[in-house]
Amino acid sequence: MSEHNANQPALEITGLYKNFGALKVTQDINLTLQPGVRHALIGPNGAGKTTLVNQITGVLKPDAGTIRLFGTDITNATPEKRVALGVVRTFQIISLFLRLTVAENIGLAIAAAQSLDAKPWGSLRDDDRVVDAVRALLERLDLLGVAERKVRELGYGQRRLVEIALALALKPKVLLLDEPAAGVSSHDLGMLLEILNRLPSDIAVLVIEHDMSLVFRFAERITVLVGGALLVEGSVDEVRADQRVRDVYLGRRAYV
């Protein structure tokens, strides 16, 4: 944390443009995440949310604009490099190691982050640093009780938590949560929200989500994208009260 300049935003996106042929999927997006912020990105289908996330993680290259991480320009960095620098995402479609235990899933990520993955002797179970790190993560995500279970024995809600734990194991500074509530039952939603609220306070979190109840209860700030462009950015109350947002997004949902 010492290398952070306290005045620098965690993530700063300025003047970002991306076209797929004639389709303008990102138009002059400016977005700033302060360290520790809980920010939500919402918008109707096709608003360009996923494209924006893909540009932040480096899967897509923007046509113009810059992305800075604590002041460092990462616009041209590879996805792997960005992960190493602390830009980590979770996936809408959960992708885990099903026949391994929950602890092994997390241990794999920690081993990879510490470059232990080629070590052909010893065991992670005898590595106190790894075991303690796994325990701390599982504790934070309420998964300690299922540490010995194989992931395929878990319900969808708990798998979502393992997915988040895997991302946290990579020590993110900016965490992108892609639809964390997707597929989670309404019964588990309260649990998910409670755990999201316990994420480390120094991490800037950007959540892309369709579930408005989760967004309104989790986020401090909300950015609304429509047709690739930024429609509104503001606090939860400002966005809720905004008539344009009601028209294009919330109003329409209410009739569904």
Partner: protein, 342 residues
Amino acid sequence: MATLSTARAVAPSIRNAFAAHRINAIDVGIWMVAIGAYFVVPTYLSLGTTVLIMILFTLSLDLAVGYGGIDTLGQGAFYGVGGYAAAFWALNVTSEPISGLVAGALVAALLGIVTGPIILRTRGLTLIMITLAITSMLEEFAVTAKSITGGDDGLTGYHIDPIFGMFHFDIYFRTAYFYALAVLAVAFVVARIVVNSPFGLTIRGIRENPVRMRLLGVPIRNRLIGLFTLSGAMAGVAGALTAQVTGLIGVDTLTFLVSGNALISLILGGFGRLYGAFLGAALFYIFSDRAAAINPFHWYLGLGVLLILAVRFMPNGLIGLGEQFQLFRERKQGRGLDRGAS
């Protein structure tokens, strides 16, 4: 009391959640049977030696297929190449046996390093076809390159020195049996260390979800090549052992049959648990031997029936059968309730 015991149970559960091979009752049983066989059935040590070597070979296949998810049908290539290398070594360099094993391991490992980058680019059916093709090419080479391989006759007429200058190979396979047993024990220890290691866990992760593994920043192709090479070296040692204890290595070691038999052994025994190789290969080769003794003409029928029964009634092999039984007992005693529920 209850809270105390849960608190205590939680503390070590992280360690226990990492799968690990530990010395247990199965080990004691396996090695006692292996040593006991020497005294109980001294007239069958030739078969016993074959079984031990094939366990080693099947163990090497389990590393690739069971742990790494590399569905190869070309493991016989390593076996044959290792055997030829050991025979060539004995004929042209030295008759000392240990160095011959090392030669077999190194040449097989070299084959792994060279073919691995090509083979491991693919998965599934494509991978199976490529591994089959490479084995066939090597077989053709062995038939054609008479000056190196002896062609259809294979390599023979070489002598193997006593092990450490002390233990002479005898016609009753007494020395050969313990030689193979010792090499198998060393290989098993190596395999166990590797599968317990962070590398071993990474390999299982790649088997489960290669895409996600890459996203964690792991160079998965390199890890797979490492595993493939280790597995190949182990198969090469098995081939070298065969060449040394039988005094003959032929083209038949490079046929698909060798790879197929090991795969069947692994199906019988169970994948990804190391012990599956022991139980499966022992069952396969002892059963084949007995079936052939009873009916030399139709013994393959017996093997076929065995395989059908095995696939029908123990899809996870003999070792899986044991685990099912254990789970059943735990559930009956009410201990494994929550584990069984899902």
